[in-house]
């Protein structure tokens, strides 16, 4: 029994080291690849997804806006160009029935958007994707 546990521990340590190396490699690669161009592409993908959100999710977002009239805050890693900013603003106003949209920047996102609408956060950026991957790793290992 003890030998089995020791081998299992060794195997787990090897798996953890492999996964950790993969995660570090990906983070370093994306750090270098992050740019305003990549951000623009991520924003396009986010807009595409916003237009096809399930109706129950749209209802939850509108309910949050109706109850509290929150400010919609859009944070990006780089300054969003005027044309794309206008499209994002229009899409969010449609989604929330006309809430006020405010833009800001946070380089920690690396590239992409994070949108706060009352209790909801819409994420389409590299930092949150890496965090999501790390969570998947921990979840796979602990369940």
């Amino acid at each position: 029994m003890r030998e089995e546990r020791r081998l299992s521990e060794l195997r787990n340590n090897a798996e953890a080291a492999g996964i950790s190396a993969g995660l570090q490699f990906t983070a370093r690669l994306l750090e270098r690849a992050a740019s305003p161009e990549l951000e623009a592409k991520l924003i396009d993908l986010a807009l595409e997804d916003m237009r096809t959100l399930p109706s129950d999710q749209i209802a939850r977002l509108r309910l949050a806006c109706r109850d509290a009239r929150p400010q919609v805050k859009v944070t990006s890693a780089y300054a969003v160009c005027a044309a794309q900013r206008q499209v994002v603003e229009q899409e969010l106003q449609t989604l929330t029935d006309g809430a006020v949209v405010q833009f800001g920047e946070d380089s920690r996102l690396r590239a992409g958007l994070r949108i706060s609408i009352g209790p909801w956060v819409l994420r389409a950026n590299l930092a949150d994707e890496l965090e999501f991957f790390a969570y998947q790793v921990n979840h796979a290992r602990s369940s």
Binding site: R11, E15, R123
Partner: protein
């Protein structure tokens, strides 16, 4: 044999970049190690909350508009107005041989002055015990501590 990597590869095969929608809340008050949070409509009992300053708490009471959470890790920057997120996890600690003989808090942080134990996995605190057939025989009794409460 290698279930964890298999589960990971299966979830990665299904992965594609997409708009991810999560929830956030705001601390309305803090006192006696308890944070009251407004928002987070889908929080459940024993969910772990993460605050933007790095503090962490576990949900122990749900009300129609607020929830209360016991602070497990509290930084000096934690104040009313701090944003809270659902971590999507339950209370869990690192597990493995490195934990033998160590004293840790409910998050696995050492309380005995030693280094952080290097464990390869994590397990939820509230989970089913292994079947009796898989456990080793008890040769030495473990006398647990005494819990007292004032009502």
């Amino acid at each position: 044999m290698h279930e964890a990597p298999d589960r990971l590869f299966t979830s990665l095969e299904r992965y594609h970049f997409a708009l991810r929608i999560t929830e956030q809340g705001t601390i309305v008050s803090i006192g006696d190690g308890i944070a009251r949070v407004k928002g987070l409509p889908s929080a459940a009992m024993e969910d772990i909350l993460e605050f933007e300053d790095g503090s962490r708490a576990v949900v122990f009471a749900l009300e129609p508009d607020n929830l209360s959470a016991i602070l497990l890790l509290q930084s000096d920057k934690l104040t009313a107005g701090t944003t809270a997120y659902l971590s999507g996890t339950r209370l869990s600690i690192p597990v493995g041989a490195a934990l033998l003989g160590r004293v840790v808090d409910p998050l696995g942080v050492p309380l005995d002055g030693g280094d952080v134990p290097e464990c390869s996995g994590r397990r939820e605190l509230e989970s089913l015990s292994p079947p009796i057939i898989l456990r080793e025989f008890v040769n030495e009794p473990l006398i647990p501590g005494i819990r007292s409460s004032i009502r």
